[in-house]
Symmetry: C2
DNA sequence: GCTTTCTTTGCAAACGTGTGCATGCGTGAT
DNA sequence: ATCACGCATGCACACGTTTGCAAAGAAAGC
């Protein structure tokens, strides 16, 4: 009980065996007698010996760790996805190494290399808002290590993807506002370098076109979705000669910011202004009036990404050229902010 | 460009050097000529070689990975702490392996062993609600691997700790309600197996005593802090012959549940009932009326835990005897739910 | 009793990196 | 010419585990 670390050699000498026998006993190798296995496992149980995953990983060139690279851990959507991924991986004996890029492409690139250094079994990624060059991820594909993108995915980069139906989210939100009578719908969303915002914008455009409502560039804002930016954009659109009667926001933080600003201006919601947010943040149903939002089912999305990753690791998927792209459905949750009657 | 993994040997033969020279060149060893270092680094730059942290970790018995074990990732408090820890560790070249126990002591024990298996440089833990036996953590101390608990910490187990001032939080919350005139203050909180709830309860008791208000056992509920449980406890206390005029809730989810239930009963807030929550969840300031809550500064707490961990790893602060216990202050954020005037 | 077969175990190499020690080379002093 | 010395590099082993192969012993068939 005085050593700092114990190895299979220690228990081998203790039992008068070779370390190979101990290794095989612990791995339930069929050529080892039951008696020996029992002796080994009994001693291991009551000792401070713990399997050294580092040594095993080196020897096998196999790892039980999956990397996860996200822009920010503490956003509601992301932390729920992480929860799901962690639970699902743990079910299958895998661990998770979590890194955050803080939406900086430089940090992202650095972390990709660090994660590769750790010889992880696979990498799951949601990119930064500004990642347009995806070549730093290619090392994983060249090394034949599974790589799965989710939510924020590369534009035209060949890779496995799990994504929400952002086009449909944008389309349904805008259509809903149009059906509620809105004709001047502002769109305050994130930078178009990012896949999800491009798709939502496309849905917004198509819905407008369907209702023969012309797109007014003055009503469209794209920037990082902070509360401050939300208020700035809000000030801009409410200063226009024709005030908007609807807002489709890129997330719920923005929707909340717009709503609070509108309240200050004395604009009645939903009668004078209707608002739709995105992601169905817990705050959306708590605020008054409650905010209509697009549910993305982040837990299910995380599970899908994890399952896809596990399948890729286990080689259950033909390793050839077939790239998998899963789209998880969204659901428009209608609340008071956009409907006179709910 | 056809191999799957490259090693220092590959670039050694490419340059006509030995792998030891390459290793030393990459580590900036002083005995290697600048010319050789440049040649090595140039080739490494343009190749697919990446340092193998697994092999280095085995050779050095040193790791650049810190483990984090939390009950649930996606709670606001925890995900903020994780964000802080990850950022701080990354500043110093360390990575983070995140596991969640889902508040199950069995899973926690299992994960502690898995984390040890990965030969992490240190472990940061917030325990489950029900962990009363902490012996599964001892292996880290016996192996001289830094171990830091935060928030939910062991009762009388010798270990480094970073904790919020839960006693003060409980005391100030209750005192505030008393000062606002409440005399029948319900306390709906988490299981007393968990340190933080014990401390908050002690603060609650002391504040009551200070105002000569007797503790009414019927007003005190301890269970897992879900919304469902909040409503159940709420129903119980509002069915009492003397209705409570104040509620000190163990978290904001509970405070929200109580508030919504009270609204349904037609109880006016804050005039007939005053409510204080805990953790200052983003929802607390958004709901109407906004909820008074205890800010725990989770980002600062995470940073402190990470800094302490890094100090332990680097300085090897004599890990046996001097146990460090840091208490981060709290702040009562007064809002409409508890004050007639704000 | 001898050979074959099966069961159980040990030996030694390998994974990729880091490092103590030895080695070789060039320079300058004696 | 010899020696000492500093500099740059190579050799070989170690970290702890897994695994192909060999081997020893027992059981079984002739």
């Amino acid at each position: 009980m005085k050593k700092l670390s114990y190895t299979i050699k220690d228990i081998a000498v203790e039992l008068g065996l070779s370390h190979s026998t101990v290794s095989r006993a612990l791995n339930n190798h069929p050529h080892i007698s039951q008696q020996t296995k029992d002796r080994v496992k009994e001693l291991v149980e009551k000792s401070d010996y713990r399997h050294n995953a580092v040594a095993a990983s080196l020897r096998n060139s196999k790892s039980k760790m999956v990397g996860l690279l996200v822009p920010r851990i503490s956003m509601y959507f992301q932390s729920t996805v992480i929860t799901a991924i962690q639970n699902k991986l743990h079910e299958h004996g895998y661990n998770l190494m979590v890194c955050q890029s803080n939406d900086s492409p430089e940090i992202e690139k650095e972390l990709v290399n660090e994660l590769f250094s750790s010889r992880i079994a696979g990498l799951i990624v949601s990119t930064t808002l500004y990642t347009t060059d995806f070549s730093h991820f290619d090392i994983f594909q060249r090394a034949n290590i599974p790589l799965v993108f989710y939510d924020r995915v590369p534009k035209s980069h060949p890779a496995h993807k799990v994504l929400g139906d952002d086009y449909q989210g944008g389309y349904l939100s805008t259509k809903h506002l149009l059906e509620q009578g809105c004709r001047h719908i502002a769109h305050i969303s994130g930078p178009l370098t990012c896949s999800i915002y491009r798709h939502r914008y496309a849905g917004y455009q198509d819905a407008l076109a369907e209702f023969d409502v012309p797109l007014d560039p003055a009503l469209v804002h794209f920037q990082e979705l902070s509360k401050e930016n939300a208020i700035k954009a809000s000030e801009a659109v409410f200063a226009l000669p024709v005030r908007p009667d609807g807002v489709f926001a890129g997330n719920d933080t923005t929707a909340i910011g717009v709503m609070q600003h509108a309240k200050q201006l004395g604009i009645a919601i939903p009668s004078q202004l209707k608002i739709v947010g995105y992601s169905n943040d817990p705050r959306a149903e708590i605020i008054e009036p409650s905010i209509t939002s697009v549910e993305q089912f982040p837990y299910e999305m995380g599970e899908q990404a994890a399952i896809l990753m596990l399948d890729l690791i286990m080689d259950k998927i033909s390793p050839g050229r077939n790239l998998i792209s899963l789209t998880t459905p969204i659901e428009l949750v209608k609340r008071q902010s956009s409907c006179l009657q709910v």
